[in-house]
Symmetry: C2
Subunit: 122 residues, 2 copies
DNA sequence: CGTATATACCTTGTGACGCAAGATATAATG
DNA sequence: CATTATATCTTGCGTCACAAGGTATATACG
């Protein structure tokens, strides 16, 4: 199986990478906020619904970190699927965490947009 | 003189850091897009107009990189001020660069917001 | 006169983290 | 029985922000 890799050539691409990374954790938490999803499913979900490219080498370490810190809860499901899947869902703590992240996202977005309006065009 | 340092304690703070870094280069370029500004002035400008905290150890390397890649142009001004200042302003290439960044910022913001609306609340 | 503070710039070392590239295991395909 | 697909996980590297230092000059204070 070919693995998707992310092309980073010029400075603009590099910046796009950096911006994408900024919202990565938020995007992942949103993916498991209303439904539980397993690793590859999250990757596909983000790709399909928002064009956000995330690879396995990225998502598994992050999910591990989030599980260890109690923001998400993981559960193995072996029945009914050929391959065992590890389903993640937001914990109660995670819900609070996500709410604060959303507040901050709104504030941050406002700051950048404000900058664009005031400093941006001539 | 006391130097401001950025506190990073809990996972939420860490994430805030990451998000802030994502938009850093955009914020800096916006700061020098309509007027030329010098290093410390950019720091103060961002602080005052948007609450975005940037330190000297962050901004000077970035400005150097942006200058080297031709996105901004730098000019020393020694007259009329007690201390010589290095003024930065967007180059013509930088203008195109910034426009593309703004396009991407709008798209990215839309993607995250879309995620919030579709995946977010129960 | 010294020394403390402010303004201005720059550099070095380190830590954090995404992620490409691997590995493992099982099931279905042909 | 080799290949492809699904599923997870780990290692090692590269990048980059940034704290903590440094230099130089000007003003303020007693």
């Amino acid at each position: 199986m070919k693995k998707k890799s992310i092309e980073v050539n010029n400075p603009l691409d590099k910046w796009r990478e950096q911006l994408r990374r900024g919202g990565l954790e938020l995007a992942i938490l949103l993916s498991v906020s209303s439904t539980s999803r397993y690793g590859l499913e999250i990757i596909r979900y983000l790709q399909e619904s928002t064009d956000l490219v995330v690879t396995e080498g990225t998502i598994y370490p992050i999910l591990g970190r989030l599980t260890r810190s109690g923001v998400v809860e993981a559960e193995w499901v072996s029945d009914e699927t050929p391959h065992p899947r590890k389903y993640y869902r937001l914990s109660q703590r995670g819900r609070k965490h996500l709410d604060e992240m959303l507040d901050h996202w709104n504030a941050y977005r406002g700051k950048i947009d404000h900058l664009v309006e005031t400093a941006g065009r001539i």
